[in-house]
């Protein structure tokens, strides 16, 4: 077998796991505001277990009744026995599929108090991210209560039927804020040298171990690297030491994580190469005897198998790749890796949590609908009537629509004008080198079309008369670019390698404009972005935008907001600007202004009984909008 280590049994304390894959704790915001587990959460967790992971971990449950530990509106609670029945439903769902059930206890500390006007910390260290609440220093009594809360939570988890208890001590959550010298300035027994700063962690581990006994393993997630050097965080050596201290305290396994949410560096975005953080896990593995695990940009079973073979890790923790596809383990085991829905590290899931919304997944529209058969997570129901469908455009919307409709039993033909499938994702994949990863999704969608019997015709321009003979025509050929001046070129032309670097003005500073500026500035162009709104990147995920802006500024890209192009005359671009009019010398003007294709509907309707616009052709938006819209419409056909 290709993944002999990944699918070999493992051990956590006294327990045996069927393989080395652990679905990692992931906040979903699927639960009720008052902490009760929802049906949606149970169905999602069941899908995770059904997918074949050896261990399935719940999202972190907050352990205190005041909600100081609550970091997310839909986070589940474990501070009272009344939550046990709901939690037990999750444990049962996991056990039904032969996985071990782990429950994570997560007091969000510096990131907690989501419904309060403060958060609790060892010392008052101001927040760097405005989203979080003003901190208040914990009293000694409150710290002792926090230990008792964690212990009581573990007792409830065992009563609910969980096999493993996991403690979260990462990214700015309570335990990590005690461990870090950045946030812990206490002078009592919980502050001072590293061992004293680890006292809360040690007391929590020891307290839980004493409560749950030898049969229930207790693991902890800790920071392998805080990436807070600019703020006086722990040194890498200190972080390494914390794993040893956890082992001494009785931890049965450790999970190595990287960075805090306020670290001023990329940690899990695409620009961080897959497998980049494995050496940190390796260092931990060299100093402890208990099993070591890691998630963090280990996106493929191949990479995980290699990491296990090298001895970097003992277990592969999977978070985002299993949000994208809970069936990842099963597909890998059966040699169907090409059928895995590939996470593209867009962090849509993560960013939604900070706007108090349930997670969503760009590449998997069924996320959160695992328990609703009509959504077709396991299989799409067959359509009552087989229809002949023409899809125009082989970008993400067209491919997703075609595959979904074909799976429902429709006869689907897809026409793509260019020689290659992928649409605007082909351009997006060229913006930064790491964006090549987006092509994994194109390959997956193409495979879905092929497996479901879609007839894919590339290099074939579509005309309205092509619609004849089809019951339905779906226009998914992307947005049209608006040219403020006839000389302006469209993004596709700007990506031509034959363009000579010069002075370029990008009209429009939403995602497309930002991408163009990144690409052209990397090629040596002097770039100006002209955007009417007060800010650029309105439709760009904040997890990416901060870094993009940093790069653009570093490369000297002029960001002209509140500006509108007026006249282009012999290389001089006149702009309206908040400070009056302004002229720019330019060699090239590229438009990033998009509009829908509704004006083309009429022509198609002359030949087709029914025409639909889908994706950017319907309204230019982001990738997930196109994919989800295509899926939603096609699944209901």
């Amino acid at each position: 077998m290709k993944y002999c280590r990944l699918f070999s049994p493992g051990h956590i304390g006294p327990l045996r796991t069927k393989n080395r894959i652990k679905y990692a704790a992931t906040v979903t915001n699927f639960n009720y505001r008052n902490g009760y587990v929802s049906d949606r959460e149970v169905a999602y967790m069941e899908a995770q277990a059904e997918g074949g992971a050896g261990i399935v971990t719940t999202q972190g449950a907050y352990p205190d009744p005041k909600g100081e530990g609550k970091g997310f509106m839909g986070q589940m609670a474990i501070y009272d026995d009344r939550f046990i029945p709901g939690l037990a439903r999750i444990a049962e769902a996991i056990h039904r599929h032969g996985a071990l059930a782990a429950l994570q206890i997560m007091h969000c500390g510096r990131e907690g108090g989501v419904e309060l006007d403060y958060c609790v910390m060892p010392s008052v260290v101001p927040q760097r991210l405005s989203y979080f609440k003003p901190p208040r220093e914990m009293t000694l009594q409150e710290i002792e209560q926090a230990v008792r809360d964690h212990v009581a939570a573990a007792r409830r988890a065992v009563e609910a039927g969980f096999d493993i208890i996991e403690i979260s001590g990462i990214v700015g959550y309570l335990i990590s804020t005690f461990i870090s010298r950045y946030t812990n300035r206490r002078e009592d027994r919980y502050g001072g040298d590293l061992r004293s700063r680890c006292r809360l962690m040690v007391e929590v581990i020891q307290g839980i171990k004493a409560e749950v006994g030898d049969k229930v393993p207790v693991g902890i997630r800790l920071c392998g690297l805080e990436l807070l050097d600019d703020r006086g965080g722990n040194t890498p050596e200190e972080s390494l030491e914390t794993f040893k201290i956890a082992e001494e305290a009785g931890a049965d396994y450790v999970s190595v994580t990287i960075g805090w949410h306020e670290s001023a560096r990329s940690v899990i975005t695409r620009d961080v190469p897959m497998g980049h953080w494995l050496p940190v896990a390796r260092r931990v593995k060299e100093v402890v005897k208990i099993p070591v695990m890691m998630a963090f940009r280990i996106f493929t079973p191949e990479l995980a198998e290699e990491a296990l073979s090298r001895g970097d890790i003992d277990f592969w923790e999977v978070c985002r790749p299993m949000i994208a596809d809970p069936q990842l383990p099963k597909k890998a085991a059966e040699g169907r890796e090409h059928e895995i829905v590939p996470c593209v590290a867009c962090n849509l899931c993560f960013s939604r949590l900070y706007y108090h919304q349930p997670i969503m997944c760009t590449v998997r529209p069924t996320l959160g609908h695992e328990g609703e058969p009509e959504w077709g997570y396991r299989a799409l129901p067959k359509a009552p009537r087989r229809r002949k469908i023409l899809v125009v455009g082989g970008g993400p919307a067209g491919l997703q629509f075609a595959a979904t409709a074909a799976k429902r039993g429709h006869e689907v033909v897809l026409l793509e004008r260019s020689a290659e499938l992928g649409g605007s994702l082909l351009l997006a994949s060229k913006v930064e080198r790491s964006d090549e990863e987006l092509l994994r999704f194109v390959s997956y969608l193409k495979g879905e079309c092929e497996r479901s019997g879609v007839e894919l015709l590339v290099g074939r321009e579509a005309y309205p008369k092509d619609a004849e003979g089809f019951d339905l025509t779906v226009l998914a050929h992307g947005a049209r670019y608006l040219k403020p001046f006839p000389e302006a070129i469209i993004p596709k032309e700007a990506f031509s390698p034959s363009l000579t670097p010069g002075r370029a003005a990008v009209i429009g500073g939403e995602g497309v404009g930002v991408a163009l500026a990144l690409y052209l500035s990397s090629r040596g162009f002097q770039v100006a972005i002209i955007e009417e709104a007060p800010r650029i990147g309105r439709d760009v995920n904040p997890f990416y935008l901060w870094r993009y802006i940093q790069i653009l500024k570093k490369r000297g890209v002029q960001i002209l907001t509140g500006s509108r192009p007026l006249v282009l005359d012999q290389g001089k671009l006149l702009l309206s600007h908040p400070g009056g009019e302004r002229a720019l010398e330019v060699d090239l003007v590229i438009t990033a202004l998009r509009e829908d294709r509704s004006s083309e509907l009429q022509a198609w309707m002359a030949h087709a009984p029914q025409v639909l616009l889908v994706g950017d052709a319907r309204r230019p938006r982001r990738l997930h909008n196109s994919v989800h819209e295509a899926y939603r419409i096609a699944k209901d056909l």
């Binding site: 009720y32 505001r33 008052n34 009760y36 929802s38 509106m73 839909g74 009344r82 029945p85 939604r352 706007y355 108090h356 919304q357 349930p358 709104a533 007060p534 309105r538 439709d539 309204r619 938006r621 982001r622 997930h624 909008n625 989800h628």
Partner: protein
Amino acid sequence: MIPVVDRRICTGCGKCLQVCPPRALELREGKATIDEEFCEECGICAAHCPEGAIAIPWPDFVPHNEQIS
């Protein structure tokens, strides 16, 4: 969850229109109005509303045994 605009509080400043990624908001009779067809339920409008007029309708759960009491 589609956010809910409290029209009594909304001043019609239009800030939410500027930040909505899918442009699913407009001012109708001077009040922010969400086009549910295009709303992607991201909550960014609620986070940016200076008046706190936009909320995400988070549900609570009441178990049967607690409903009785």
